[in-house]
Symmetry: D2
Subunit: 347 residues, 4 copies
């Protein structure tokens, strides 16, 4: 199955240096692996951190991009031949397989991962990728690959965070932040029977949040967020998902929780979180961090996507060569929807 074919790929050569588009060898799938002809790869803010050197996992000279969807076009030994031609989205945590977390199906917490496409090994800003067959999660045959690609990161992260929160149907859920992950959390919480309040900035974004299931919206630019949460929920929020993560938003979020309320921190930011223990104690609050997703979470995200309950809107579809434009637009922000690179379209 060996070839000498080459493909285009966007590479991180050294942190703090602009990515470069280069020709590299098309990967061949080893035993138990599949190769995907990539149809779409979402651009995530994480790529900005890799480019700027803010996130440096010690690896060099690899293809970036971790929100990857494509069509299986080659199989390694031992893989079910029926998988050829299947659409799939990539689960990007490849755990050690032996630690406590891998055994429990919490691969995203493995302290010694074997590979993480787009972070420490070749990712999805390219024409092809090879991954373990188990990590190519089947998509429905009619899936739009551009819409499906962000399931691999934003979508599954939302499923995981909602599971961590232990949402009970009928609970009041506040989602602070109406970007890609925030809107996904709105939808997943809604699908779990929760009543959702979306907090964001700008009428357009909040209209989208409503469309995706938010029962109430709060414009953080013009409203007193804490007061409005209390007005809408009555006794306070059961859960606040915090995706903005400034000192102010976390303080307001904590104050807005009802007794037994939970604050779920998802987004990375620079600010610290400070609270007086008494505030957590007298109302028996919980503060918890949520990172990434399990393989099962991604399967669940795909199921919600297939049922039309988790939509991942795409703002722009760019050619691979336009990666710099995509990164610049992502950095600028203010766009409703994911920017997606599509290696098979012409620039």
């Amino acid at each position: 199955m060996s070839t000498n074919r080459v493909m285009r790929a966007v590479r991180l050569e050294a942190p703090g240096r602009p990515f470069t588009l280069r020709a590299v060898a098309v990967p061949e799938p080893g035993p138990g692996m599949v190769r995907l002809r990539i149809g779409a790869c979402g651009i995530c803010r994480t790529e900005l951190h890799l480019r700027d050197g803010g996130l440096d996992l010690g690896c060099r000279d690899f293809t970036v991009g971790h929100e990857i969807a494509g069509i299986i076009d080659a199989l390694g030994d031992g893989v079910d031949p029926r998988r050829l031609g299947e659409k799939a989205v990539v689960y990007y945590y490849q755990g050690c397989g032996t630690c406590h977390h891998c055994r429990m199906g919490e691969t995203h917490l493995c302290p010694a991962p074997l590979a993480q496409p787009g972070f420490t090994s070749d990712g999805g800003y390219a024409e092809y990728i090879a991954v373990p067959a188990t990590h190519a999660v089947p998509l429905p045959g009619d899936a739009d690959l551009a819409e499906a690609a962000p399931l691999g990161c934003a979508g599954s992260t939302a499923v995981h965070a909602c599971r961590m929160a232990g949402i009970v149907p009928g609970e009041w859920i506040v989602v602070n932040g109406a970007g890609g992950v925030g809107l996904a959390v709105v939808q997943v919480a809604r699908a779990a029977g929760a009543r959702v309040v979306s907090v964001g900035r700008g009428a357009e974004r909040l209209a989208l949040a409503r469309e995706m299931g938010a029962e109430a919206v709060i414009d953080a630019a013009h409203e007193d967020v804490g007061a409005r949460i209390r007005a809408v929920t009555g006794e306070g929020a059961d859960v606040v998902f915090e995706l903005v993560g400034t000192e102010a938003t976390m303080r307001i979020a904590t104050a807005a929780l009802r007794r037994k309320g939970r604050l779920v921190l998802i987004g990375y930011t620079a600010d610290s979180y400070t609270v007086h223990p008494v505030e957590l104690i007298v109302r028996e609050l919980k503060i918890m961090g949520s990172v990434g997703a399990t393989l099962q979470d991604l399967h669940d995200a795909v199921t919600l996507f297939s049922r039309g309950l988790l939509r991942m809107p795409v703002a722009r579809r760019l050619a691979l060569e336009e990666f710099a434009t995509g990164l610049a637009l992502t950095e600028k922000g203010g766009i409703s929807g994911r920017i997606v690179l599509m290696p098979q379209i012409a620039p």
Copy 2:
């Protein structure tokens, strides 16, 4: 059943003023209530805060003391006559009965409690008290009332905190603080199949912790607590119960948690808790507050006590008249065991 009998009682007349021993009417049990002839009432640090005005719930002129055990000597209408003569310990949260928390059996979180003996209504530094029959939790017939009294506060608080933590048998539990509640947590966690590390100060206290089930002990006065926790547990603690609550101990506790670890805050202190969200996120940590206990928790504490698995050592047994001595000793600290007032012994 009305009488004009009087009894001795230690009263809070105004916050910030010394308590006074006075004669007040012996209470009569109303419908559904029982009267206890008090055998013992523990002295808790909370009484110091009430006396000093640091804790002021707005109530005046009531009997203090909330760790109460005695013998039922009078019954209100509708109470099972077999309860006369029964030994019992008092559950001191009297909820509204209608709110979400009362319905769920979480009376300690009721936002509108009807009464709280020793905090907002007459408590246990006295010869008698009347409480709802359901709030007089039966003790075994051979119970030492001085040892049983602290179950109503320290013992049940420990049961509750362990339940909140969701201890899994075999997990490594660190208890930071080896006072009354701390030693109770050691025992309850041990009874739940956990492996317990006790952190405290002084050889005597730590020897007691070992005797009560700690598999390892750390002397916070002479050892690097964080390093020792990692050495003993291998991958870090599954749960840290924080009873010291200084900025430094909470920081060390957070760092000592393994992935999926939980920090349970119990003790009130002046310091704030500061953490960077990333630290909670990448290891998916949980920080949670625990306050007081449910009625079921107290029943469970009594069961553990009856089985010899939860011992509440008594350091000194004082007459009611010696309450000031008891408070002074409690304030001074450094005593291994509860100081208990016993209204039926002579000063």
Copy 3:
């Protein structure tokens, strides 16, 4: 507050004898109680069993009826005066308050209940009833009392059974039986994010099930239920709620479960359940019984009702004097919706 007023009430005088309409004293609410002027009382199959002597809890000469909604028209001592004029539905388990189950908020499992209106004490086929204030669960001001009354039995039973089943959003739920409780389960499971298959008899009933959220329906009269469940769900049902309870339906239900599936038995019937342990073992199935509801379940049912997510259709509204007609129609069956007695309408 004492009066000599009398009211009409339908009484069980002895099991196996027809109920009789009689004049009895209007009840006065004792301390902590409220009196409801009854607006509606649903007719439940249980009344047929009481009348026929099939259900005999040893009590005689009391008013039957346990699905009770009305307006609070008198308050006992100690009840919040703002409750006067409030619409409410009755929670009919009055527990002992001291047992393990009462402490845990599982009043419906109390082995020594103080009273059970309509079963062992005066119920709702009458003009008035007095119940503990906590047991009169507030309804929204615009609630139709005829629609709200069945929440006290069928609605809360459905909430409870769904909670027992531990429904995970996205799971396939089969509800075998499309009567009052069955349709309530369909709605509650739907509100919890489940995908629901309703199994019943007749196009009209199944159309109603679809309208209430069933994603698929199976006509037990004309289809192979087991085969259809497998066809719809793919790997089998995650949960089957069994409300028919014949030997055949329970066997089919067990076979239709996927690995880790749960069979929840709700309806009382004559047939036994037989299964080979190996069938439960190799797929790790769970069989569980669910009876009645907690006070919290009824509050949750009311909340779902208020949000329009739990509708309890009323087939016929009859005067109190028409109780025999109502019972006969209930016995005959085949009616889509509850038959409700309304003491304030003329026959």
Copy 4:
């Protein structure tokens, strides 16, 4: 790494035919696999069923035996070289890796397992075995391999069943059956803080149960089991683990459960289980099957074994050539402890 070495192995050639000792090739570990030099393999009743044809999974001509412990003596590609020389016990479920159950860490429920040593592929009545590195669970360096081997089946099965039962510390647990799995359940439940009643036959066996942590024992040969359970537990058992599985024992077990009690079926037997739904409903009982164990369960069993909390007594240590003697003794029953084949001792 290829050799032409041969080894002794006990083979199933066809169901219903006696096993035969033959020379077969020593296996070589493929990529990601390890080879164990087998120190001990327990004899399980399952082997009797394989031999007699009662259990026929469709496979022929393979080495039997699934309770396997040994020392790693060869590594396939990609395995951590530090594992050479490590003692390990084998996890014998090799799942498909892609199904819902494999993703959740419930490999034992995989509907399409790749291999099951001793059941469908070469097992442990032999000198060597090759398994995936993740399936060779590390033992402490001083482990007695004969005692450790049964962890792979009886020990981990007990851990799994206890986890399924959701044991709460302090609950009353009845273990019906005092064979290998039964005694393991006694110990695991004890380590989880439960109060354990062991039901078995014969003074010797019950003395062993007491030694392993049973607080009470019942001799099924001479006592009324149901009456004794009620006498010991007061309100009935919280959990009964059923390992005998006759119609009579299952009926008694169900009746002995308190409200909210759980019956966990583990052992395969011929009898059916029959119950009237009302019995499950009015006490809200749960009946559940438990089969095998997850990889994490085996790790937990090894941890308990290492801590001295889970002892697997060995009754007889036989040479591989004595397999027929071992099977005959196992079939005869009545022996306190496992019979273990040790390929490295002389017959």
